[in-house]
Symmetry: C2
Subunit: 205 residues, 2 copies
């Protein structure tokens, strides 16, 4: 264990500390109301230090968005135990919805806020591995469904995208306050009711 190693560890630790503080504030007061100064205050460091460890605010938002995908992975974990791809597909949607509803702010950051994508664009070579990985999980499940005879006449990739759009659309309408505007009979149930309609449909396919 050299000193360089320890330093590297300390650097990582401080980076994590910044992210931890940022996440705490995000959940408390929302992404937009959280400033770099807030984050610095929260962890008792100066603004300057934050900029030593992160290129800019987008970099923080991007790292936090990655953490969000890890957390989504936790929700998806139990899907591996479901052997029937059709059952897995149905449950995957429920887990996605559940994650979105229990982690509004994180979901927003992962799938709606522009910053994480801007960061990826600005840092050249990198790709949106988090998104690619998550979509792959969906597409593979859909492919398995097709392989055992479901979704006759459909194509895996666009069908998967359609399904992603379906659940994401309901979640983002909710998170960005468009469901509150439209007065539903049962506002706090409409997401799951919508998903039920989807389930009825794919059960026939």
């Amino acid at each position: 264990m050299s000193i360089a190693d320890r330093k590297a560890r300390e650097k990582e630790a401080l980076k994590s500390l910044i992210l931890k503080g940022a996440k705490k504030l995000f959940l408390e007061r929302g992404i937009e109301q959280t400033t770099i100064r807030n984050i610095a205050d929260e962890i008792d460091y100066s603004v300057g230090t934050v900029y030593v460890y992160f290129k800019d605010k987008n970099a923080i938002l991007h790292d936090l968005h990655s953490i969000g995908f890890q957390e989504l992975g936790g929700y998806f974990k139990e899907l591996f135990t479901v052997k029937d791809p059709m059952e897995r597909l149905k449950k995957m949607g429920i887990m996605y919805l559940k994650f979105a509803m229990e982690n509004n702010e994180m979901y927003d950051l992962m799938f709606i806020v522009k910053a994480p994508m801007e960061f990826i664009e600005s840092s050249e070579k990198e790709e949106w591995n988090e998104g690619i990985g998550t979509f792959s999980a969906l597409r593979k499940t859909v492919e398995e469904c097709i392989a055992i005879g479901h979704f006759k006449g459909h194509f895996a990739e666009p069908l998967s995208f359609m399904i992603w759009g379906l659940v994401h659309g309901m979640c983002s309408l909710e998170i960005r306050q468009r469901t509150k505007g439209v007065k539903f009979s049962n506002p706090d149930q409409i997401l799951y009711q919508g998903y039920q309609e989807y389930l009825k449909i794919i059960e026939k396919l």
Copy 2:
């Protein structure tokens, strides 16, 4: 025609001028890169004047979002000529997609950006009439479909919401750069391909 009338007209005219300038800049450089000072410069008035005619930036964004709904209404106009509700439903989705793809920035403002909803919340009594109206058009069409025997076993409201979510989801993933991240075989076709999958499905219901 009293002087008071003329003044009222002039007030309206200047309000429109501000909105027109704001929209021009939005389309040119995006919502987030447009400042009140930019808008004031664009129409050769001072910042202070803008604040005489609009309470704050959210108010401008809200009025512009309303204009967006009028424009969406234009896209929907030809739907009235379609008598068969099932055909109308299919075409409504296409028009919605078309509007979103041809008016990215306006769509974003109408269905993703928080500002318009914040404005409505802050101004008490008002409701999201634009959203209510648009959703009603969808739900009524779905109800007509049900009335002539389609969508057996489904409920109009949640099914309509699911359909809205489906198209909105694909549009917002595209607009907020999440489709560029995931490498599709045919990136610039994926929205319509996804919609095709949806069409195949509802044709069976």
